[in-house]
Symmetry: C2
């Protein structure tokens, strides 16, 4: 059963296909009378516009692509990405934009997905949900000229790349100072790989805070997680050196929760013996035991704003490349304790 086309409707309504098309776009050049007539016929025949045909001539897909970081696995295990997606999704729906996501798992595969999306003209723009060093996607996108925005601070010339990010240096500084104010002086820092911009920025914020407060930065206190360096090993290493910090700045809730468990295993009490402050304030932080004090990075907002910027640029390509900073705030819970009032 062939789908009904604009021509079928035209014939049935005794008008030209062009008229039907104009009714579709509610052109002011068509009389109300004709519009009514045509719409009635469309209704009766069960007409529905063919998206691809429209895209082909209009050259606008009303679709944005979303690039997930590294492996899908990582992206989708961490509540971060889903929450970003939620924000993006909300705005897209509001603007009648569609979402297409990459399916690749390896960096190479993801890159190919992106090329396909862009060259095949499947999307009007993209959101890159991460920012990291030695990434091929972003350079490809700037070269291609397609609108895109990165969630995070882009590597390279910022004024050529739109971005939505937190002030991670500042946020980490505040997190660290929070612990300092509670009287902590031996403070550890745990993050993901420093190739991710967010890790680097937060490390910066941490060291800034330590320096400004004249506290020692022990290189052994700074740890980057890895397959070869899981949390368990990190904790072991710290204990072996028998110099366990009294406070930790951990750059995401999952890692913090993990730290919590590793410490518990060693019978080290949180927050009595060790305080932890983490980032993202996801549901994990809320449900942990003890609930985690966490920097809320407003992930949803991050997604929402990035979609907003992107669609703005799609609609107005001449727009200057803005970059927006989403504020952060501390959500105090039970994972930090003052050393002062003892």
């Amino acid at each position: 059963m062939m789908a009904v086309t604009i021509k079928d409707v035209a014939k049935q309504a005794n008008v030209a296909p062009s008229t039907v098309s104009r009714v579709l776009s509610d052109s002011p050049r068509i009389s109300e009378k004709t519009k009514k007539k045509v719409r009635k016929v469309m209704e009766e025949m069960g007409y529905y516009i063919n998206h691809n045909a429209r895209v082909l001539v209009q050259k606008s897909t009303q679709t944005i692509g979303i690039v997930m970081k590294n492996s899908t696995s990582a992206s989708l295990h961490d509540p971060f990405f889903p929450e970003v997606l939620r924000g993006i999704s909300a705005l897209c729906h509001q603007q009648s934009f569609n979402i297409s996501i990459t399916t690749g798992e390896s960096e190479e595969a993801i890159f190919n997905d992106v090329v396909k999306m862009v060259q095949g003209k499947r999307v009007d723009g993209l959101i890159v949900s991460y920012s990291k060093k030695d990434d091929k996607v972003v350079p490809f996108l700037v070269k291609s000229g397609i609108p895109f925005v990165v969630v995070g601070k882009p590597i390279g010339k910022a004024n050529e790349i739109m971005s939505v990010d937190n002030d991670n240096v500042q946020a980490a500084k505040e997190a660290t100072e929070y612990l300092i104010r509670l009287g902590h002086t031996k403070i550890g820092f745990i993050s993901e790989q420093p190739k991710y911009e967010v890790s680097a920025a937060r490390l910066q914020g941490y060291t800034d805070a330590m320096r400004m407060n004249n506290l020692d930065i022990d290189a052994d206190f700074i740890k980057h997680l890895d397959k070869s360096e899981p949390m368990k090993r990190v904790v072991d290493e710290l204990l072996d050196g028998s110099k366990l910090p009294t406070g930790f700045v951990v750059t995401d809730d999952i890692a913090a929760l993990n730290l919590l468990l590793c410490l518990r295993e060693k019978n080290i009490k949180v927050p009595e013996e060790v305080s932890i402050i983490s980032f993202n304030n996801t549901i994990i932080a809320k449900l942990a035991t003890p609930p985690l004090t966490s920097i809320d990075t407003q992930i949803y907002q991050l997604g929402y704003e990035s979609a907003k910027c992107l669609i703005e640029e799609i609609k107005n390509p001449l727009m200057f490349k803005k970059s927006v900073i989403i504020p952060t705030f501390i959500e105090e819970r039970g994972s930090c304790q003052s050393l002062l009032d003892k």
Copy 2:
């Protein structure tokens, strides 16, 4: 700067557009020599196929749509959906299929998204990631005739609808019997709204197990969560009646974790005083305190298989509508304790 088309390539290579097209699809009717020549020109000119033009004539989008349950919020807060998506994504990538997701938040909005996808011919098939009563999406899809599969047990005539599911009755029965074997007799059941098929099935499994073991089913022990009936209230109600079960079957990890927290607030120890077995074995179960014994429903597999079924049907529409059952198993951790060896 206009994109280079098949015609440009044809001109440059001194062949007809049709020849270029055939080279693209590696048709055996074109000589190796010509193929080589054309490919070289494509390379030089930076030709890339326009996806939409192809879709328009071939009528196959190589894209599947994913319908999220109810609100995006719920879908994306629960690790379930992201994990399903991960499985779907993996297979899609392998088969060079693209993924397009709904963006609507309300049921109505989602339904409209689906209609757009289907009528607008944007997708070759869909995966509905839930199964619930009074849902408009599934009936619409069967009527439309487009291939689709539901994750979960479909409401209505099963042989007309492809599905991928666990045997939830059996799984819940086993979960319940696990507690029974540990000596529990007063066992509570907590799930989401019974309109979701999965809740209904697990309730069934629970009651089956109780009956078969001649245990009382106290209606007060069966609870369905809701905005108006959050976990906190559920626990309060049970305590007020001063009849707290010694064991709980909870139909997902998040709810179980929540229960854990509510109980801790009342100073009720898990697993010493109350045992909990939950479903899904997500990362939540692993990271909870104590870690939760949970029925692994192999969510990733659920997604992977559903994509597999769907793409099979897309490629071979005459295929009978199969339904596949993914096995479950218990992952024992620390949230259950035997009452026997006391």
